[in-house]
């Protein structure tokens, strides 16, 4: 089966510093892949490259067989790739409901938006998503009144609304409480049942909870890849990332 996402030889050099170094990476359809690595390993850069924010110096990115290396971000999104940012990017003055509504999967063209009405199905779907992420009681509050954890969930909800094939989640549990992180982990697992998910995480408890196949990046290269248990016992990974202590 052909891979959904295929990254070959991806290299980025910025001001003489190599962030991604001929990276090879691939994802299968409906997979939940966790990407680990120390800061500066290139995890966020990889996501930025895939979504078209930066263009690589060398290498190619294929999504469902199509070359998306040099496409504009909004076109890449329309191919079915959704991105969740490390720091939640929301529409601050719009209500929670409107944030999700505007992200609903729909034609993005100007003239369509001019004449499109909000149907009952749209409203129902938004309500369902709000209940899914646990923000149904805050539907009419402006996005800038939410707590940090709620903002992360809202952005997750916006992504779910846009129904992408591949979700790129960049550290979605940052700044949350333990309970919040567990809830987020459950949400991600549910999302992963129907979509392909690339999850970048630092919190090893969450990783242990939901990770299946893991890729460890280091200095722009793939250091180790495989089931979580194998990778965790890999000596090099322990040395560079996990530390010498025993990981339980």
């Amino acid at each position: 089966m052909a891979n959904l996402l295929e990254v070959t030889g991806l290299t980025t050099k910025v001001a003489g510093f190599t962030i991604l170094n001929s990276l090879d990476f691939s994802l299968e359809e409906n997979e939940l892949r966790t990407v680990l690595g120390p800061n500066g390993a290139g995890k966020t850069t990889l996501i930025a490259m895939i979504t078209g924010q930066y263009k690589p110096t060398a290498g190619k990115i294929y999504f469902a067989g199509e070359d998306i290396t040099r496409m504009a971000p909004d076109k890449i999104f329309l191919r079915g790739i959704g991105r969740k940012f490390q720091v939640p990017n929301l529409y601050e003055t719009l209500s929670v409901f409107d944030n999700v509504l505007v992200s609903l999967q729909a034609d993005r063209k100007v003239l369509r938006a001019l004449f499109r009405k909000v149907t009952a199905e749209d409203a129902d779907r938004v309500c369902d998503i709000l209940e899914f992420i646990g923000l149904a009681d805050k539907a009419n509050d402006p996005a800038d009144t939410l707590s940090h954890g709620e903002r992360q969930w809202l952005e997750l909800g916006m992504l779910v609304a846009s129904n992408p094939r591949l979700l790129l989640l960049d550290e979605p549990t940052t700044g949350m409480t333990e309970e919040g992180k567990r809830q987020t982990a459950d949400l991600i697992q549910k999302i992963a049942q129907k979509h392909t998910v690339l999850l970048v995480e630092h919190d090893m408890h969450i990783v242990r909870r939901i990770a299946k196949k893991v890729t460890v990046l280091h200095q722009g290269r793939c250091l180790a890849e495989g089931p979580l248990q194998e990778v965790v016992e890999n000596d090099m990974v322990r040395q560079i990332y996990l530390g010498k202590g025993h990981f339980r």
């Binding site: 003055t93 719009l94 409107d98 509504l101 100007v110 549910k190």
Partner: protein, 384 residues
């Protein structure tokens, strides 16, 4: 839709202005009312791009002024033909003073006032389209875009002053007010009130259109582009296209205001195309309430009205007072007049929040009970 009190308020205001010719006694105030309507539409056009989409344009008067000049030139040319000077000249006076002996060839199409009005509306919109494609497609927004619009405005102003043989230069275009644009409708004589009602009608149409745009799906997209264009782009919205669209609509509205202004006031100069006028309109929008539809119109009426009133009553201090007013608005009433009132209403409604929460909970509970599974979706299944 539109709340009942807004509808009644709007009808009342329109009636009050529209019936002024009957109960009013001052032609000066009649003239002011007409001017203020034009200013209001102009400020509304700025609010569309600034309050709702986050594009600050410091040169919106380019579209207002270009349109005004097209109409004014056409009226002046026709006036000169019908009222030859004692030497028999039938071209506008500023052309004679600059040594022209006959109407320049490229200005002959302006002899037809309806055509001039069409040009006055279409040319600024095309200019806006060109500007939008050049700047927004290259992801130039924010401060840089504002500076470019400022430069555009200054350039047009200088251009008009320079080519005084064709534009009347520093003195502008004057003395054509007896032949109003009403000839567009086939009548040669018009009383002031007919045109006032026409302008009032156009104002209502603009307000309704603005409301339809901003409260529709596209309005939400524009607001999301204003709030976070990175997120919008990564959510599949081509921010440049949306910005270009609203910029063109806004330029058309400004052109509409300019064309009416030229016909009503009877005097157009380079000042109406320059950055000072543009920035004044931004101030009216800010004072009235940006991000609202009637805010800019209220702001235009209020600020301009205050200026006219105060300059008559306190000739020495009115500018000081206007400055104090602007500082007050920035410090205390950041959302403008309309915005602050809306905030008060919302704050008052929050006092009954507990009731609202109860109501929402009850409704959610009822929805769950009524909900029937449809098709393949099972009860309790995640919406993913």
């Amino acid at each position: 839709m539109i709340p009942w009190w807004a509808l009644i308020g709007g009808v009342a205001v329109v009636a009050a202005i529209g019936s002024y010719p009957y109960y009013g006694t001052s032609t000066y105030i009649l003239a002011l009312l007409g001017k203020f309507l034009c200013y209001g539409i102009f400020a509304l056009s700025i609010d569309l791009i600034w309050g709702f989409t986050g594009i600050l344009s410091l040169g919106q008067a380019v579209y207002f002024g270009t349109s005004a000049y097209f109409v004014a030139l056409s009226l002046k040319i026709n006036y000169a033909i019908e009222h030859p000077t004692r030497y028999g000249g039938t071209i506008p006076d500023f052309m004679e003073w600059n040594g022209l002996t006959e109407l320049p060839g490229f200005m002959e199409p302006l002899m037809s006032t309806p055509f001039a009005v069409v040009l006055a509306l279409v040319v600024p919109t095309l200019m806006a389209l060109l500007f939008g494609v050049i700047t927004f497609k290259r992801h130039i927004y924010g401060v840089y875009c504002a500076v470019i619009t400022l430069a555009e405005s200054l350039i047009l102003q200088e251009f008009i002053i320079e080519y005084q043989a064709y534009t009347g230069g520093f003195n502008g275009i004057t003395d054509y007010s007896n032949a109003l644009a009403w000839s567009f409708f086939g009548e040669s004589e018009v009383r002031g009130d007919d045109f006032l009602w026409f302008m009032l009608g156009i104002t209502v149409v603009c307000v309704v259109t603005a409301r339809l745009i901003t409260h529709s799906r596209i309005g939400t997209v524009l607001k999301s582009i204003r709030d976070n264009d990175v997120r919008a782009e990564f959510m599949g919205y081509n921010a440049a296209n949306y910005r270009i669209f609203v910029f063109c609509v806004s330029a058309f509205m400004a052109a509409l205001a300019g064309a009416m202004y030229a016909s009503w006031v009877g005097l157009i100069s380079f000042l109406d195309t320059g950055p000072v006028f543009s920035i004044e309109a931004v101030i009216w929008t800010a004072v009235g309430g940006r991000g609202t539809v009637i805010g800019p119109i209220i702001g235009a009426f209020f600020v301009r009205g205050a200026e006219f009133f105060l300059s008559g009553v306190l000739a020495d201090y009115w500018q000081l007072i206007m400055g104090g007013l602007f500082i007050f608005v920035v410090l205390v009433m950041r959302d403008g007049i309309v915005g602050t009132i809306a905030n008060w209403i919302r704050w008052y409604r929050k006092a009954t929040l507990a009731q609202m929460i109860e109501e929402t909970d009850r409704r959610a509970h009822d929805r769950q009970l009524d909900w029937q599974p449809e098709g393949t979706r099972k009860a309790g299944e995640d919406p993913v």
